[in-house]
């Protein structure tokens, strides 16, 4: 990793530092938490936001791309959002504050802000060091979130939907989610708000305990001018099974990080991501996955469609520890570029220290197949419709893997809407 030399603070960095000065006394947490928050802000002040010289941010020069930061409006109220599918149990964070929760058998959801104030053990504000802009900004400014515990052995009937909503300004939320041993649950994680300028950050710690089975679906559908910094820190224990699905449907500057540690033998991770990038949006999905014990599997598939002047990024790092024999990891990143000005950068990275593993990665960046287009048009399907069918087919393949008809329909509706506007 190259060290970043000190540069004068940008407008955005200055705003962040000054905002902390105004807000810190209101932010939840005792003196210990204030110290942690202050350390995070000092790190931003001293190191600055990461530039392309920092390897993890090479394709997303945050210092350059984050032009300005809107100010937080504590009184703002976001509009309610219908559930992604009928019958979800909603856990809502409105403008960064817990706004409503329905009760669910086998699951408890409490306020992170309360936990920070009460000094609950195990609840803290962590980050991944001086270049972890997402973690640092979130640690400094987080106002609330959910602490969710799914009881051991509980099978939660319907999907539980976390919503982080805003009406512009700043919104920083953090969720700590533990799926107990042998439990089963589907969680939706939605990020949405009005079209007003926003800096949104979210950090989620997701732990899937021994033998548990979870599906996590992050749906990022922020406004067209939004900056969204997301970070999912995932831990899989023995025989745990997780389907992790991320779909980026909008936003202006989007970075979604996934740090996953496969810590228990027999664990299985299915990671799928879809990025739809149009206009002059920038969308970065960065995955760092560690297989740290023997006999674990993972598959990673990322499909992106980029048009207009959109820029997409996928960094996929898989680390296989020396003891992690019999690891099976398969990563693929496929991209459709629909315009000459669109771009996509992909960096697969395998670090393998074990000798008996099956790991593969592949990446493609292509235009729509002209032979396919001709075939459809030769049947009387207009060019726009034919292109739409082909783009949809490209991303729908991985949506349809999801074993939930209502969810598939909800996601496909959103993909259709995007195609109508950008296809």
């Amino acid at each position: 990793m190259t060290v970043q030399s000190k540069l004068p603070l940008t407008a955005a960095e200055t705003t962040l530092v000054e905002a902390f000065g105004e807000q810190f006394s209101y932010l939840p947490g005792n003196a210990g938490m204030v110290t942690l928050r202050d350390r995070a802000v000092q790190a931003i002040k001293e190191t600055g936001l990461p530039t392309r010289k920092v390897e993890a941010w090479h394709y997303t020069d945050l210092r350059r791309l984050l032009k300005d930061v809107p100010s937080h409006d504590d009184a703002a109220v976001a509009t309610d959002l219908d559930g992604l599918v009928d019958g979800t149990v909603k856990l809502v964070l409105n403008n960064g504050k817990m706004a409503g929760q329905e009760s669910v058998d086998g699951l408890t959801a409490t306020s992170l802000a309360d936990a920070l104030r009460a000094d609950v053990s195990g609840v803290t504000l962590s980050d991944h060091g001086q270049y972890d802009a997402t973690g640092l900004i979130n640690s400094a400014f987080v106002t609330d979130g959910f602490v969710i515990k799914v009881d051991d052995g509980a099978e939660i009937a319907g999907p539980v939907e976390l919503q982080s909503l805003h009406d512009g300004g700043q919104v920083h939320t953090r969720n700590l989610v533990t799926v107990g041993e042998g439990a089963k649950v589907t969680l939706f994680d939605r990020h949405a708000g009005s079209d007003k300028s926003v800096l949104a950050s979210n950090v989620t710690e997701l732990t899937v305990r021994k033998g548990a089975e979870a599906m996590w679906v992050t749906v990022q559908e922020q406004g067209e001018t939004a900056t969204h910094l997301g970070q999912l820190n995932v831990t899989l224990e023995e025989d745990a099974k997780l389907t992790l699905f991320v779909i980026n449907l909008s936003g202006h500057l989007v970075r979604q990080e996934i740090n996953a540690d496969v810590l228990g033998e027999g664990a299985d991770l299915t990671f799928r991501a879809i990025n739809l990038v149009g206009g002059d949006a920038h969308c970065d999905v960065t995955l760092s996955l560690g297989h740290l014990v023997p006999n674990t599997n993972s598959t990673e598939t990322v499909r992106s469609v980029v048009t207009g002047k959109g820029q997409g990024v996928f960094q996929g790092q898989i680390r296989v520890d020396q003891i992690a024999q019999k690891t099976d990891a398969q990563m693929a990143c496929n991209t459709l570029l629909l315009s000459d000005d669109a771009g996509f950068s992909t960096k697969p990275e395998l670090e393998i220290f074990a000798d008996d593993v099956v790991c593969a990665h592949g990446a493609t960046v292509a235009e729509i197949d002209h032979n396919h287009l001709f075939y459809l048009m030769a049947r009387g399907i207009s060019e726009k419709t034919a292109r739409g069918l082909l783009i949809k087919a490209f991303v729908a393949e991985i949506v349809e893997e999801l074993d939930d008809e209502a969810l598939v329909e909800a996601l496909e509706t959103r993909i259709d809407t995007w195609l109508e506007a950008h296809g």
């Binding site: 048009m377 009387g380 034919a386 069918l389 490209f394």
Partner: protein, 251 residues
């Protein structure tokens, strides 16, 4: 119905001229066979008729019902009633066959100002047509042509042709890769569409298909031109003598 006049065409990418002054007239109700050796321009002609962008027409014209179609894109030509049965139908992962059929039928109807098909009507039409071609509904649940055998792909092409009811059918080497049973099914499908207001162009290398789809006229294509025209006996002559004799004769 179709009038090709002094057509010259080349590959857009490298400028190689493939069609060099081709004249052909096909009347409504007629089945015309175009035969020729490999590399004579048979498939190129079918693609040019369908409007593929990889080829550039440099001279001449193609009139369909008296009007030039050169400025029309493939979808417009199809909606006007032109159908190309591909020699190598495309496999398109992620596009369900039934969805594709429905979109194609309705887009054509829309282009002609007709009402869209209801789902029950659509399914009834597909079931009827599929039955006669020995196509199972199971096969139609798969993505378009994906994992279809060679014979299944050709039958699926004929299914599309039956459902879209074109006015001018162009069959590009529909017999290639078919065993005799599949050939009969495909030929029956084509014959069932014969009608006084529909024309068919059968492009083939071998005479065999023409035993089942009996042509009214036979045209020999060589080096991008029609060099000889006759009735069905010309096909038998070709089978007996081979292309070389006819080509030498014409030269």
């Amino acid at each position: 119905m179709l009038e090709i006049k002094n057509l010259h065409a080349r590959i857009a990418e490298d400028g190689t001229e493939i069609i060099k002054g081709l004249d052909l007239t096909v009347k409504a109700g007629e089945v015309a066979a175009i035969m020729g050796p490999n590399g004579s321009g048979k498939s190129t002609l079918s693609y040019i008729l369908a409007g593929r962008e990889d080829y550039e027409v440099t001279d001449g014209d193609i009139l369909y019902n008296g009007e030039s179609i050169l400025e029309m894109d493939p979808a417009e030509r199809a909606a006007a009633g032109l159908f190309l049965a591909f020699q190598y139908p495309m496999e398109i992962p992620g596009v369900a066959t039934m969805q594709f059929l429905k979109v194609a039928m309705n887009e054509q109807r829309k282009a002609r100002g007709e009402a869209e098909l209801t789902t029950p009507d659509f399914i009834r039409l597909v079931k009827e047509a599929a039955g006669t071609l020995d196509i199972s509904m199971e096969m139609l649940k798969r993505p378009l042509n994906v994992g279809f055998s060679g014979g299944e792909k050709k039958r699926a092409e004929i299914l599309q042709m039956k459902l879209l009811e074109p006015k001018l059918c162009v069959l590009d080497e529909t017999d290639s890769g078919l065993d005799i049973d599949a050939l009969k099914i495909v030929a029956d499908g084509v014959n069932s569409l014969r009608s006084p207001d529909r024309a068919t162009i059968v492009i083939t290398h071998y005479q065999r298909l023409l035993d089942y789809i009996v042509p009214d006229t036979v045209h020999v294509l060589s080096k991008g031109k029609i060099i000889k025209t006759g009735d069905k006996s010309l096909a038998h002559e070709l089978e007996a003598k081979g292309y070389a004799d006819i080509i030498n004769e014409a030269a």
